[in-house]
């Protein structure tokens, strides 16, 4: 018989190793930190670290600067540039999610097996990739902490008999292991949860609404004892939007709430609009959707199973559904559905774990089936998570090219890009004119548009072309292979561009006057 302490230690070591294997793989294998957006976030952090100012007119994310300012203090204290924190951030966040998840799962089930399987499912299914150096990664951590503390301390441990018209839903919260704390500790814990809510409100646009949705759902079914908790979250969220994010919402109310009520548009932008690009890219998207659908189906079975046994299935089901209520309000740039799944993943993982546990309990053949499925899930995860690595990775040569760009280009000049997916703006965030300013305005292979975009700046204009950009355009916009080489050939033949720097993975061109203009001079 293994002691409880030894069992916990062995299982904890196994889950940490599993997390390191799945979420630290890219950090260990690649020469630089992956994902171009992470480099942009390092640039935002650098901007605050050096100047102590937010550029709210430059980017919406500066209206919610909590993560960036906190990261600036962190980087300064550890004596590192923010870019030095990027590489291992995904692994650190993935590991940090485990304790709040363990606490949350303990609130709903007394079975240690279900809890540990739940942790394994969460780690193995979280392909969303929102754990890089970004506000949403930190916000998800705070969200999980707030929800887990609320569920551990503030949920009413009783049988529920909920009447919805003719339907009666009976469930119980008595199967979990609650934390008993004295009254004065409860007051302190409410203050701490309030602090976390305040931090969330000023760190990310979407997450506070996810927390509000979960807390409101729990309060609505009478499970939450201090019913004021969702009210506090609402007040703090709107207080920050009115004060800190006023610059943003004053001109973007339509972006924020323009799609309210248009569920079909939100679903379309999150699913159909993303199914574009090369065959490889669409295969990766199909694997992601299939993987997600299977897990959601298992979770639905788990919810019914747990509810029929009066084992908290109703609460977990509602908690899994709560984030999807955002469908009625926000498309979030087409990423809304991804984020909703991410925020629903904790209860989904526990419900899936219940199905797996109940299916395999005490039956050796079924255990073998579970083992095979679990082994198959790992390569599926790898495809879903790292399937886009051909353009999501960042090479040393690309970073070298970007550093050269900032050395060559004088402040005030125009810096242009032919396609998105460029790890720039690490420095010089406000000292240059970046073109294009909008995702819809990328020129790709249209030479005349590139020249028009870059013309008219007396300080000069520079165009940067990297391998990552070219592959991104091929994979996600469906441009033919080799389009980048053809485009660069036309650039050079036009006589308007001079190569000023080149590495294996990137080239910098300077815009030169047209031959007729040069002759006139």
């Amino acid at each position: 018989v293994v002691s409880r302490r030894r069992r916990t230690l062995v299982l904890a070591a196994a889950i940490v190793a599993h997390t390191a294997m799945l979420h630290g793989a890219a950090g260990a294998a690649e020469s630089t930190a992956r994902f171009p957006t992470a480099w942009l976030h390092a640039g935002f952090t650098n901007q605050i670290m050096v100047t102590g100012e937010t550029l709210t007119n430059l980017d919406a994310r500066f209206s919610w600067p909590g993560f960036f300012s906190g990261a600036a203090v962190f980087a300064s204290a550890v004596g590192a540039e923010p870019a030095a924190l990027l590489r291992w951030a995904p692994l650190m966040f993935a590991l940090a999610y485990l304790p709040p998840l363990a606490l949350l799962f303990r609130s709903f089930t007394g079975s240690w097996r279900v809890r540990w399987i739940g942790l394994w499912v969460f780690v193995s299914v979280n392909w969303i990739g929102q754990d890089y150096f970004a506000p949403q990664s930190f916000a998800l951590l705070l969200h999980l902490i707030a929800v887990s503390v609320v569920c551990a301390v503030f949920l009413r441990r009783r049988r529920t008999d909920l009447s919805l018209g003719r339907f009666r839903l009976r469930d119980s919260m008595l199967r979990g292991l609650p934390v008993k704390v004295p009254a004065h500790h409860r007051a302190v814990l409410i203050c701490i949860v309030t602090l976390i809510m305040a931090t969330l409100a000023m760190s990310h646009q979407l997450t506070p609404f996810m927390l509000i949705a979960v807390l409101t759902m729990l309060a609505a079914v009478g499970a939450l004892r201090p019913k004021l908790l969702p009210v506090i979250a609402i007040v703090l969220t709107f207080a920050w939007i009115s004060y800190g994010a006023a610059t943003y919402w004053a001109g973007h109310l339509d972006d924020m709430f323009g799609k309210a009520g248009q569920v079909d548009v939100v679903v379309g932008s999150g699913v159909e609009a993303r199914m574009t690009g090369s065959d490889v890219h669409r295969t990766v998207l199909a694997v992601r959707m299939g993987f997600t659908a299977i897990v959601c189906l298992l979770a639905a079975c788990g919810a019914i199973l747990a509810w029929r046994r009066r084992a908290g299935g109703l609460y977990l089901g509602l908690m899994a559904l709560a984030p999807f209520s955002m469908l009625a309000f926000q498309a979030y740039g087409g990423e809304g559905i991804l984020r909703m799944f991410l925020f629903a993943l904790a209860p989904i993982a526990l419900l899936t774990a219940r199905v797996i546990h109940d299916f395999a309990r005490g039956r050796r053949r079924r255990m073998a089936v579970v083992l095979v499925v679990a082994l198959l899930a790992l390569p599926t995860f790898m495809v879903a998570r790292y399937g886009n690595e051909s353009f999501e990775r960042v090479t040393k040569s690309e970073i070298e090219t970007i550093n050269a760009l900032y050395t060559l280009a004088p402040p005030g000049s125009t810096l242009a890009s032919v396609s998105p997916n460029l790890p720039w703006r690490l420095r010089g965030l406000s000292g240059y004119i970046y073109k294009p300013g909008n995702l819809d305005e990328f020129a790709f292979e249209r030479l005349d548009v590139i020249i028009a975009m870059m013309s008219g700046n007396p300080n000069g204009a520079y165009l940067i072309v990297t391998k990552g950009q070219l592959v991104y355009a091929e994979q996600t916009y469906g441009l033919p292979p080799g389009w980048g080489n053809a485009m660069q050939k036309r650039l050079r033949e036009s006589g308007r561009f001079a190569v000023v720097f080149a590495t294996d993975d990137g080239v910098i061109y300077r815009l030169v006057p047209a031959p007729t203009q040069r002759a006139r001079r």
Partner: protein, 128 residues
């Protein structure tokens, strides 16, 4: 010394090391000292919250760990935001304030531990 006092004393020593490191003049760079990142980074991530749960004497270890992480993260961001919006931005100053707050909470825990009737049972059923 009871575990609570040991924890508070360890946090005070850790705070001293971190304070010395944070106060050191020096430029930030891409090539960082991994030991400093580990010691100072883990301190900022959990120490202020750990000092709080030690001062509160929360018995549930998992809840205490989660609160430690949440409180530390929240305090770091709120302090940074306060200095940013009050136009007194100083990342090093914010870090030093955080260390100060941790020391204050650890000292509170230590004082409570010293004055607590530790000869009496700490909870029902415990051996004196």
């Amino acid at each position: 010394m009871n575990p609570r006092m040991t924890g508070a004393a360890a946090l005070l020593i850790w705070s001293g090391v971190v304070l010395a490191w944070v106060s050191l003049p020096g430029e930030t760079g891409l090539h960082t000292d991994p030991i400093r990142v580990l010691v100072v980074g883990s301190y900022l991530a959990v120490a202020p919250g750990t000092a709080l749960v030690v001062a509160l004497a929360l018995r549930d270890k998992l809840l205490a760990a989660v609160i430690a992480m949440g409180f530390s993260g929240a305090l770091l961001v709120l302090l940074a935001q306060a200095t940013l919006y009050l136009n007194i931005w100083s990342p090093r100053g914010a870090a030093v304030t955080l260390v100060g707050a941790t020391c204050a909470m650890s000292l509170t825990a230590l004082a409570r531990g010293m004055t607590a009737p530790h000869r009496r049972p700490q909870h029902p059923g415990a051996r004196p």
